[in-house]
Protein backbone atom coordinates (compact mmCIF):
# COMPACT_ATOMS: atom_id res chain seq x y z
CA UNK A 1 0.00 0.00 0.00
CA UNK A 2 1.37 3.38 -0.93
CA UNK A 3 1.84 6.10 1.60
CA UNK A 4 -0.63 8.30 -0.28
CA UNK A 5 -3.35 5.70 0.01
CA UNK A 6 -2.77 5.33 3.73
CA UNK A 7 -3.26 9.03 4.18
CA UNK A 8 -6.41 8.85 2.05
CA UNK A 9 -7.78 5.93 4.08
CA UNK A 10 -6.86 7.71 7.25
CA UNK A 11 -8.73 10.82 6.18
CA UNK A 12 -11.84 8.86 5.36
CA UNK A 13 -11.49 7.24 8.78
CA UNK A 14 -11.42 3.68 7.42
CA UNK A 15 -8.10 3.02 9.23
CA UNK A 16 -7.67 3.17 12.95
CA UNK A 17 -4.78 5.11 14.44
CA UNK A 18 -3.06 1.84 15.35
CA UNK A 19 -3.48 0.30 11.90
CA UNK A 20 -2.02 3.39 10.30
CA UNK A 21 0.95 3.29 12.64
CA UNK A 22 1.60 -0.37 11.81
CA UNK A 23 1.67 0.46 8.13
CA UNK A 24 3.94 3.41 8.79
CA UNK A 25 6.27 1.07 10.67
CA UNK A 26 6.48 -1.26 7.65
CA UNK A 27 7.31 1.55 5.27
CA UNK A 28 9.53 3.85 7.27
CA UNK A 29 10.36 2.80 10.84
CA UNK A 30 11.71 5.25 13.40
CA UNK A 31 15.44 5.04 14.10
CA UNK A 32 14.55 3.87 17.59
CA UNK A 33 12.59 0.98 16.10
CA UNK A 34 15.55 0.06 13.92
CA UNK A 35 17.74 0.13 17.01
CA UNK A 36 15.25 -2.07 18.89
CA UNK A 37 15.19 -4.53 16.00
CA UNK A 38 19.00 -4.61 15.98
CA UNK A 39 19.08 -5.47 19.66
CA UNK A 40 16.28 -7.98 19.30
CA UNK A 41 17.82 -9.72 16.32
CA UNK A 42 21.43 -9.45 17.45
CA UNK A 43 21.89 -13.22 17.76
CA UNK A 44 21.01 -13.49 14.06
CA UNK A 45 22.46 -10.22 12.79
CA UNK A 46 25.95 -10.35 14.21
CA UNK A 47 26.91 -13.90 13.17
CA UNK A 48 25.50 -13.08 9.72
CA UNK A 49 27.50 -9.85 9.59
CA UNK A 50 30.58 -11.78 10.61
CA UNK A 51 30.03 -14.27 7.77
CA UNK A 52 29.54 -11.47 5.27
CA UNK A 53 32.56 -9.62 6.58
CA UNK A 54 34.70 -12.76 6.22
CA UNK A 55 33.57 -13.29 2.62
CA UNK A 56 34.10 -9.61 1.83
CA UNK A 57 37.62 -9.63 3.28
CA UNK A 58 38.58 -12.73 1.31
CA UNK A 59 37.01 -11.28 -1.85
CA UNK A 60 38.69 -7.91 -1.30
CA UNK A 61 42.14 -9.34 -0.62
CA UNK A 62 41.95 -11.63 -3.66
CA UNK A 63 40.79 -8.68 -5.73
CA UNK A 64 43.90 -6.77 -4.64
CA UNK A 65 46.27 -9.70 -5.27
CA UNK A 66 44.81 -10.97 -8.52
CA UNK A 67 43.94 -7.45 -9.73
CA UNK A 68 47.51 -6.32 -9.21
CA UNK A 69 48.86 -9.45 -10.91
CA UNK A 70 46.58 -8.97 -13.91
CA UNK A 71 47.53 -5.29 -14.15
CA UNK A 72 51.23 -6.20 -14.23
CA UNK A 73 50.54 -8.75 -16.97
CA UNK A 74 48.41 -6.32 -18.98
CA UNK A 75 50.95 -3.52 -18.77
CA UNK A 76 53.93 -5.73 -19.63
CA UNK A 77 52.99 -6.35 -23.25
CA UNK A 78 50.56 -5.05 -25.86
CA UNK A 79 49.83 -8.59 -27.08
CA UNK A 80 48.89 -9.75 -23.58
CA UNK A 81 46.71 -6.71 -23.11
CA UNK A 82 44.89 -7.33 -26.37
CA UNK A 83 44.27 -10.99 -25.61
CA UNK A 84 43.46 -10.75 -21.90
CA UNK A 85 41.57 -7.51 -21.59
CA UNK A 86 38.47 -8.55 -23.57
CA UNK A 87 38.00 -11.56 -21.28
CA UNK A 88 38.27 -9.46 -18.15
CA UNK A 89 35.70 -7.16 -19.71
CA UNK A 90 33.46 -10.16 -20.52
CA UNK A 91 33.46 -11.22 -16.87
CA UNK A 92 32.75 -7.67 -15.81
CA UNK A 93 29.90 -7.08 -18.26
CA UNK A 94 27.91 -10.21 -17.42
CA UNK A 95 25.46 -9.16 -14.71
CA UNK A 96 26.22 -10.94 -11.46
CA UNK A 97 22.62 -12.19 -11.34
CA UNK A 98 23.41 -14.31 -14.43
CA UNK A 99 26.96 -15.20 -13.49
CA UNK A 100 25.99 -16.31 -9.98
CA UNK A 101 24.01 -19.46 -10.93
CA UNK A 102 26.96 -20.55 -13.09
CA UNK A 103 29.28 -20.09 -10.14
CA UNK A 104 26.88 -22.04 -7.96
CA UNK A 105 26.88 -24.90 -10.48
CA UNK A 106 30.67 -24.91 -10.76
CA UNK A 107 31.63 -24.35 -7.15
CA UNK A 108 28.44 -25.34 -5.28
CA UNK A 109 26.62 -22.97 -2.97
CA UNK A 110 28.52 -21.88 0.12
CA UNK A 111 30.71 -19.34 1.79
CA UNK A 112 33.54 -19.87 -0.71
CA UNK A 113 31.24 -19.00 -3.62
CA UNK A 114 30.12 -15.87 -1.79
CA UNK A 115 33.76 -14.79 -1.55
CA UNK A 116 34.17 -15.49 -5.29
CA UNK A 117 31.24 -13.19 -6.12
CA UNK A 118 32.70 -10.51 -3.86
CA UNK A 119 35.99 -10.87 -5.72
CA UNK A 120 34.35 -10.80 -9.17
CA UNK A 121 32.48 -7.61 -8.36
CA UNK A 122 35.47 -5.78 -6.91
CA UNK A 123 38.58 -6.72 -8.91
CA UNK A 124 37.98 -4.80 -12.12
CA UNK A 125 38.60 -1.24 -10.85
CA UNK A 126 41.93 -2.39 -9.45
CA UNK A 127 42.96 -3.91 -12.79
CA UNK A 128 41.84 -0.90 -14.82
CA UNK A 129 43.37 1.75 -12.54
CA UNK A 130 46.65 -0.04 -11.87
CA UNK A 131 47.16 -0.79 -15.55
CA UNK A 132 46.63 2.88 -16.25
CA UNK A 133 49.18 3.80 -13.60
CA UNK A 134 51.78 1.28 -14.75
CA UNK A 135 51.59 2.42 -18.37
CA UNK A 136 51.60 6.18 -17.80
CA UNK A 137 55.02 6.52 -16.16
CA UNK A 138 56.63 9.92 -16.80
CA UNK A 139 58.71 9.67 -19.99
CA UNK A 140 61.46 11.87 -18.54
CA UNK A 141 61.83 9.63 -15.52
CA UNK A 142 62.04 6.60 -17.81
CA UNK A 143 64.89 8.33 -19.65
CA UNK A 144 66.57 9.06 -16.35
CA UNK A 145 66.49 5.36 -15.60
CA UNK A 146 67.80 4.57 -19.10
CA UNK A 147 70.74 6.95 -18.63
CA UNK A 148 71.34 5.34 -15.23
CA UNK A 149 71.49 1.92 -16.91
CA UNK A 150 68.72 0.58 -14.71
CA UNK A 151 67.69 -3.02 -15.31
CA UNK A 152 64.12 -3.93 -16.23
CA UNK A 153 63.47 -5.14 -12.70
CA UNK A 154 64.90 -1.95 -11.16
CA UNK A 155 62.75 0.13 -13.47
CA UNK A 156 59.62 -1.74 -12.35
CA UNK A 157 60.45 -1.74 -8.64
CA UNK A 158 61.86 1.75 -8.21
CA UNK A 159 59.92 3.66 -10.85
CA UNK A 160 56.84 2.03 -12.34
CA UNK A 161 55.44 0.69 -9.05
CA UNK A 162 55.77 3.85 -6.98
CA UNK A 163 54.50 5.87 -9.93
CA UNK A 164 51.41 3.65 -10.22
CA UNK A 165 50.75 3.60 -6.47
CA UNK A 166 48.19 6.46 -6.36
CA UNK A 167 46.29 4.88 -9.28
CA UNK A 168 46.41 1.47 -7.63
CA UNK A 169 45.10 2.90 -4.35
CA UNK A 170 42.15 4.64 -5.97
CA UNK A 171 41.27 1.32 -7.61
CA UNK A 172 41.52 -0.35 -4.21
CA UNK A 173 39.20 2.25 -2.74
CA UNK A 174 36.49 1.50 -5.29
CA UNK A 175 37.00 -2.20 -4.62
CA UNK A 176 36.62 -1.54 -0.89
CA UNK A 177 33.11 -0.24 -1.51
CA UNK A 178 32.23 -3.04 -3.90
CA UNK A 179 33.58 -6.02 -1.94
CA UNK A 180 30.93 -5.94 0.86
CA UNK A 181 28.20 -5.32 -1.74
CA UNK A 182 29.48 -8.33 -3.66
CA UNK A 183 29.48 -10.44 -0.51
CA UNK A 184 25.86 -9.53 0.24
CA UNK A 185 24.70 -10.08 -3.34
CA UNK A 186 26.66 -13.34 -3.43
CA UNK A 187 24.94 -14.38 -0.24
CA UNK A 188 21.58 -14.08 -1.92
CA UNK A 189 22.55 -15.90 -5.14
CA UNK A 190 25.14 -18.49 -4.18
CA UNK A 191 25.16 -18.53 -0.37
CA UNK A 192 23.88 -21.15 1.98
CA UNK A 193 22.40 -20.89 5.44
CA UNK A 194 23.45 -24.42 6.35
CA UNK A 195 25.64 -24.60 9.45
CA UNK A 196 25.12 -20.96 10.30
CA UNK A 197 26.91 -19.82 7.14
CA UNK A 198 24.22 -17.35 6.12
CA UNK A 199 25.19 -13.73 5.74
CA UNK A 200 23.40 -10.40 5.77
CA UNK A 201 21.90 -11.01 2.34
CA UNK A 202 20.37 -14.27 3.50
CA UNK A 203 18.92 -12.58 6.57
CA UNK A 204 17.51 -9.77 4.45
CA UNK A 205 15.50 -12.29 2.45
CA UNK A 206 14.13 -13.79 5.67
CA UNK A 207 13.17 -10.38 7.06
CA UNK A 208 11.54 -9.46 3.79
CA UNK A 209 9.37 -12.58 4.13
CA UNK A 210 8.44 -11.52 7.66
CA UNK A 211 7.82 -7.94 6.54
CA UNK A 212 10.25 -7.01 9.31
CA UNK A 213 11.23 -3.65 7.90
CA UNK A 214 13.13 -2.39 10.96
CA UNK A 215 15.38 -5.46 10.81
CA UNK A 216 15.90 -4.86 7.06
CA UNK A 217 17.09 -1.36 7.87
CA UNK A 218 19.39 -2.89 10.46
CA UNK A 219 20.85 -5.06 7.68
CA UNK A 220 21.31 -1.96 5.56
CA UNK A 221 23.04 -0.18 8.42
CA UNK A 222 25.42 -3.08 8.94
CA UNK A 223 26.22 -3.18 5.22
CA UNK A 224 26.98 0.54 5.30
CA UNK A 225 29.13 0.14 8.37
CA UNK A 226 31.15 -2.54 6.61
CA UNK A 227 31.67 -0.35 3.57
CA UNK A 228 32.75 2.57 5.76
CA UNK A 229 35.16 0.31 7.61
CA UNK A 230 36.76 -0.90 4.37
CA UNK A 231 37.04 2.57 2.85
CA UNK A 232 38.32 4.02 6.13
CA UNK A 233 41.06 1.43 6.23
CA UNK A 234 42.07 2.12 2.63
CA UNK A 235 42.05 5.87 3.32
CA UNK A 236 44.39 5.33 6.23
CA UNK A 237 46.81 3.20 4.20
CA UNK A 238 46.65 5.77 1.41
CA UNK A 239 47.51 8.54 3.82
CA UNK A 240 50.43 6.53 5.19
CA UNK A 241 51.85 5.91 1.73
CA UNK A 242 51.15 9.20 -0.03
CA UNK A 243 50.91 12.04 2.47
CA UNK A 244 54.57 12.96 2.12
CA UNK A 245 54.68 13.51 -1.58
CA UNK A 246 51.51 13.08 -3.57
CA UNK A 247 49.42 16.05 -4.70
CA UNK A 248 46.21 14.36 -3.55
CA UNK A 249 47.42 14.34 0.04
CA UNK A 250 48.99 17.78 0.28
CA UNK A 251 47.75 19.88 3.12
CA UNK A 252 48.50 23.31 1.77
CA UNK A 253 52.01 23.34 3.17
CA UNK A 254 54.94 24.24 0.84
Amino acid sequence: MLAGEIIKHNKTGSLSEEQADNIRRVILPYPTEIWQATVQERSNLFPAAYNTLKAAIIGFLSAIGIGLGLAILLSSSKALKRSLYPWILVIQTIPIIILAPIIAIWLKQGAHSVAVVSFLISFFPIVANTTMGLTSTDKNLLELFAVSKASMLQEILFLRFPYALPHFLSGVKIAAVLAPIGAIAGDIFVGTSAGGQGGIGFLAILYKGDVNTPALYACAALACLMGFLFVGLVNYVQWLLLHNWHESSLDGEA
Binding site: L144, V147, S148, K149, F158, P162, A254
Partner: protein
Protein backbone atom coordinates in the same frame (compact mmCIF):
# COMPACT_ATOMS: atom_id res chain seq x y z
CA UNK B 1 93.78 20.71 -16.05
CA UNK B 2 95.65 18.71 -18.65
CA UNK B 3 94.04 19.07 -22.01
CA UNK B 4 95.65 16.62 -24.36
CA UNK B 5 93.57 13.62 -25.26
CA UNK B 6 90.41 13.92 -27.26
CA UNK B 7 87.76 12.40 -25.03
CA UNK B 8 84.92 12.88 -27.52
CA UNK B 9 85.15 12.97 -31.31
CA UNK B 10 82.25 13.66 -33.64
CA UNK B 11 83.00 12.87 -37.28
CA UNK B 12 80.58 13.86 -40.04
CA UNK B 13 77.83 13.10 -37.58
CA UNK B 14 74.27 13.25 -38.93
CA UNK B 15 70.87 12.51 -37.51
CA UNK B 16 67.58 12.25 -39.30
CA UNK B 17 64.23 11.13 -37.96
CA UNK B 18 62.41 11.16 -41.31
CA UNK B 19 64.02 9.94 -44.52
CA UNK B 20 64.69 13.30 -46.11
CA UNK B 21 64.85 15.71 -43.19
CA UNK B 22 68.25 16.03 -41.49
CA UNK B 23 68.05 17.30 -37.93
CA UNK B 24 71.82 17.35 -37.64
CA UNK B 25 74.23 17.26 -40.53
CA UNK B 26 78.01 16.88 -40.83
CA UNK B 27 78.91 17.70 -37.27
CA UNK B 28 82.69 17.62 -36.82
CA UNK B 29 84.00 18.32 -33.36
CA UNK B 30 86.88 17.15 -31.26
CA UNK B 31 86.68 17.74 -27.52
CA UNK B 32 89.56 17.36 -25.11
CA UNK B 33 89.34 16.07 -21.58
CA UNK B 34 88.36 18.87 -19.20
CA UNK B 35 86.75 21.14 -21.77
CA UNK B 36 83.45 22.88 -21.23
CA UNK B 37 81.56 22.97 -24.52
CA UNK B 38 78.36 24.97 -24.88
CA UNK B 39 75.92 24.58 -27.73
CA UNK B 40 73.83 27.61 -28.67
CA UNK B 41 71.54 28.04 -31.63
CA UNK B 42 68.02 28.77 -32.78
CA UNK B 43 65.36 26.33 -31.64
CA UNK B 44 65.12 23.35 -33.91
CA UNK B 45 68.86 23.26 -34.58
CA UNK B 46 69.25 19.87 -32.91
CA UNK B 47 71.18 20.89 -29.77
CA UNK B 48 69.21 18.59 -27.55
CA UNK B 49 69.34 15.79 -30.10
CA UNK B 50 73.12 16.05 -30.13
CA UNK B 51 73.20 15.68 -26.37
CA UNK B 52 70.81 12.74 -26.48
CA UNK B 53 73.10 11.04 -29.00
CA UNK B 54 76.05 11.52 -26.66
CA UNK B 55 73.97 10.05 -23.85
CA UNK B 56 73.09 7.03 -25.96
CA UNK B 57 69.36 7.83 -25.80
CA UNK B 58 69.06 8.13 -29.57
CA UNK B 59 71.00 6.50 -32.38
CA UNK B 60 73.51 7.99 -34.83
CA UNK B 61 72.19 8.07 -38.42
CA UNK B 62 75.47 8.68 -40.19
CA UNK B 63 79.08 9.40 -39.33
CA UNK B 64 80.81 8.48 -36.11
CA UNK B 65 80.56 9.36 -32.45
CA UNK B 66 83.68 8.28 -30.57
CA UNK B 67 84.26 8.38 -26.84
CA UNK B 68 87.84 7.54 -25.85
CA UNK B 69 88.45 6.67 -29.48
CA UNK B 70 85.77 4.01 -29.68
CA UNK B 71 82.11 3.91 -30.60
CA UNK B 72 80.22 3.27 -27.37
CA UNK B 73 78.35 -0.01 -27.71
CA UNK B 74 76.58 0.19 -24.37
CA UNK B 75 75.63 3.00 -22.01
CA UNK B 76 78.69 4.25 -20.18
CA UNK B 77 79.11 4.39 -16.41
CA UNK B 78 81.23 7.54 -16.58
CA UNK B 79 78.69 9.68 -18.39
CA UNK B 80 75.59 11.28 -16.95
CA UNK B 81 72.86 13.62 -18.13
CA UNK B 82 71.27 16.55 -16.34
CA UNK B 83 67.81 17.02 -17.78
CA UNK B 84 65.91 20.15 -18.73
CA UNK B 85 63.60 19.68 -15.79
CA UNK B 86 64.94 18.58 -12.43
CA UNK B 87 63.25 15.23 -13.05
CA UNK B 88 63.29 14.06 -9.45
CA UNK B 89 61.40 11.12 -7.98
CA UNK B 90 58.57 12.87 -6.08
CA UNK B 91 58.28 10.09 -3.50
CA UNK B 92 61.96 10.15 -2.57
CA UNK B 93 63.74 12.54 -0.22
CA UNK B 94 66.58 14.73 -1.52
CA UNK B 95 69.18 12.30 -0.19
CA UNK B 96 67.43 9.31 -1.79
CA UNK B 97 67.22 11.13 -5.10
CA UNK B 98 70.95 11.84 -4.98
CA UNK B 99 71.65 8.21 -4.14
CA UNK B 100 69.50 6.84 -6.96
CA UNK B 101 72.17 6.35 -9.69
CA UNK B 102 74.45 4.61 -7.18
CA UNK B 103 71.56 2.46 -5.99
CA UNK B 104 70.85 1.45 -9.58
CA UNK B 105 74.53 0.60 -10.02
CA UNK B 106 74.27 -1.70 -7.02
CA UNK B 107 76.66 0.20 -4.76
CA UNK B 108 76.41 -0.72 -1.06
CA UNK B 109 74.35 1.52 1.20
CA UNK B 110 77.32 2.70 3.26
CA UNK B 111 79.16 3.96 0.18
CA UNK B 112 75.99 5.57 -1.12
CA UNK B 113 75.39 7.46 2.09
CA UNK B 114 78.96 8.68 2.37
CA UNK B 115 79.04 9.92 -1.23
CA UNK B 116 75.56 11.46 -0.99
CA UNK B 117 76.47 13.32 2.21
CA UNK B 118 79.55 14.81 0.58
CA UNK B 119 77.75 15.82 -2.62
CA UNK B 120 74.69 17.21 -0.90
CA UNK B 121 77.06 19.47 1.01
CA UNK B 122 78.98 20.35 -2.16
CA UNK B 123 75.82 21.69 -3.79
CA UNK B 124 74.80 23.43 -0.57
CA UNK B 125 71.73 21.37 0.28
CA UNK B 126 72.81 19.89 3.62
CA UNK B 127 69.85 21.52 5.39
CA UNK B 128 67.36 20.15 2.87
CA UNK B 129 68.66 16.58 2.64
CA UNK B 130 65.57 15.05 4.22
CA UNK B 131 63.01 17.09 2.35
CA UNK B 132 60.79 15.94 -0.46
CA UNK B 133 61.06 17.57 -3.92
CA UNK B 134 57.73 19.37 -3.50
CA UNK B 135 59.20 21.25 -0.56
CA UNK B 136 62.01 22.71 -2.69
CA UNK B 137 62.26 25.81 -4.87
CA UNK B 138 63.08 25.48 -8.58
CA UNK B 139 66.72 26.34 -7.99
CA UNK B 140 67.07 23.82 -5.18
CA UNK B 141 65.47 21.11 -7.31
CA UNK B 142 68.04 21.78 -10.01
CA UNK B 143 70.82 21.53 -7.42
CA UNK B 144 69.50 18.10 -6.43
CA UNK B 145 69.45 17.12 -10.10
CA UNK B 146 73.09 18.18 -10.49
CA UNK B 147 74.06 16.46 -7.24
CA UNK B 148 72.44 13.29 -8.51
CA UNK B 149 74.46 13.44 -11.72
CA UNK B 150 77.69 14.09 -9.79
CA UNK B 151 77.09 11.16 -7.44
CA UNK B 152 78.57 8.75 -9.98
CA UNK B 153 81.63 11.03 -10.51
CA UNK B 154 81.07 11.25 -14.24
CA UNK B 155 83.99 12.04 -16.56
CA UNK B 156 81.51 13.48 -19.02
CA UNK B 157 78.53 15.51 -17.88
CA UNK B 158 75.80 16.41 -20.35
CA UNK B 159 73.56 19.31 -19.36
CA UNK B 160 70.42 19.99 -21.40
CA UNK B 161 69.35 23.58 -20.65
CA UNK B 162 69.41 22.84 -16.95
CA UNK B 163 68.86 26.43 -15.81
CA UNK B 164 66.40 27.48 -18.51
CA UNK B 165 63.42 27.72 -16.20
CA UNK B 166 65.16 29.67 -13.43
CA UNK B 167 65.21 33.39 -12.74
CA UNK B 168 68.35 35.34 -13.65
CA UNK B 169 69.70 35.68 -10.11
CA UNK B 170 69.35 31.99 -9.32
CA UNK B 171 70.78 31.14 -12.71
CA UNK B 172 73.91 33.26 -12.16
CA UNK B 173 74.39 31.75 -8.72
CA UNK B 174 74.11 28.23 -10.09
CA UNK B 175 76.51 29.05 -12.91
CA UNK B 176 79.11 30.14 -10.40
CA UNK B 177 78.46 27.12 -8.21
CA UNK B 178 78.69 24.75 -11.15
CA UNK B 179 82.19 26.03 -11.90
CA UNK B 180 83.19 25.77 -8.24
CA UNK B 181 81.98 22.18 -8.15
CA UNK B 182 83.92 21.48 -11.31
CA UNK B 183 87.12 22.76 -9.67
CA UNK B 184 86.75 20.14 -6.94
CA UNK B 185 85.35 17.35 -9.03
CA UNK B 186 86.51 17.87 -12.64
CA UNK B 187 84.47 16.68 -15.59
CA UNK B 188 84.18 17.37 -19.29
CA UNK B 189 80.95 19.23 -19.91
CA UNK B 190 78.54 19.49 -22.83
CA UNK B 191 76.07 22.22 -22.09
CA UNK B 192 73.02 23.18 -24.13
CA UNK B 193 71.62 26.65 -23.46
CA UNK B 194 69.60 29.48 -24.91
CA UNK B 195 71.51 32.02 -22.88
CA UNK B 196 74.57 33.52 -24.53
CA UNK B 197 75.68 35.03 -21.21
CA UNK B 198 75.63 31.65 -19.56
CA UNK B 199 77.59 30.09 -22.43
CA UNK B 200 80.32 32.74 -22.29
CA UNK B 201 80.67 32.58 -18.53
CA UNK B 202 80.96 28.79 -18.35
CA UNK B 203 82.61 27.54 -21.51
CA UNK B 204 86.02 26.90 -22.95
CA UNK B 205 84.37 26.85 -26.37
CA UNK B 206 80.97 27.90 -27.64
CA UNK B 207 79.58 25.98 -30.59
CA UNK B 208 77.05 28.05 -32.55
CA UNK B 209 74.63 25.91 -34.53
CA UNK B 210 72.39 26.86 -37.43
CA UNK B 211 69.15 25.04 -38.14
CA UNK B 212 67.52 23.17 -41.04
CA UNK B 213 69.67 21.17 -41.01
CA UNK B 214 71.60 21.63 -37.80
CA UNK B 215 75.20 22.39 -38.66
CA UNK B 216 78.10 23.97 -36.85
CA UNK B 217 78.13 27.59 -38.00
CA UNK B 218 80.83 28.97 -35.75
CA UNK B 219 83.05 28.00 -32.85
CA UNK B 220 84.06 30.72 -30.41
CA UNK B 221 86.96 30.21 -28.02
CA UNK B 222 86.73 31.60 -24.53
CA UNK B 223 90.38 31.81 -23.48
CA UNK B 224 89.77 33.18 -19.98
CA UNK B 225 91.25 30.80 -17.42
CA UNK B 226 89.47 29.07 -14.55
CA UNK B 227 88.54 29.64 -11.81
CA UNK B 228 86.23 32.28 -13.17
CA UNK B 229 84.66 34.63 -10.72
CA UNK B 230 82.04 37.34 -10.81
CA UNK B 231 84.75 39.79 -11.96
CA UNK B 232 84.93 37.94 -15.28
CA UNK B 233 81.29 38.86 -15.85
CA UNK B 234 82.24 42.53 -15.53
CA UNK B 235 85.36 42.45 -17.73
CA UNK B 236 85.59 43.95 -21.25
CA UNK B 237 86.71 40.53 -22.49
CA UNK B 238 83.42 39.06 -21.36
CA UNK B 239 81.32 41.71 -23.10
CA UNK B 240 83.41 41.30 -26.23
CA UNK B 241 82.72 37.58 -26.33
CA UNK B 242 79.08 38.21 -25.54
CA UNK B 243 78.80 40.55 -28.51
CA UNK B 244 80.64 38.16 -30.83
CA UNK B 245 78.50 35.20 -29.88
CA UNK B 246 75.28 37.17 -30.14
CA UNK B 247 76.25 38.45 -33.55
CA UNK B 248 77.17 34.99 -34.76
CA UNK B 249 73.88 33.66 -33.47
CA UNK B 250 71.93 36.43 -35.17
CA UNK B 251 73.47 35.55 -38.51
CA UNK B 252 72.17 32.00 -38.37
CA UNK B 253 69.17 31.21 -40.39
CA UNK B 254 66.65 29.53 -38.19
CA UNK B 255 63.08 29.46 -37.22
CA UNK B 256 62.49 32.97 -36.02
CA UNK B 257 61.49 33.16 -32.39
Amino acid sequence: MVEENAIVQLKKLSKRFDQDQDVLSDIDLEVKEGEFISFVGPSGCGKSTLLRMLAGLTSVSEGALLIDGATPTEPRDDLYLVFQEANLLPWARVRENVELPMKLQGKPKITRQAVADAIVELVGLQDAADRFPRQLSGGMKMRVSIARALSVSPRILLLDEPFGALDAITRNQLNEDLLKIREKDPFTAFFVTHSVAEAVFLSTRIVVLESNPGRIADIIDVPHSYPRTVEFRESPEYFDLLARTSKSLRQQKGESE
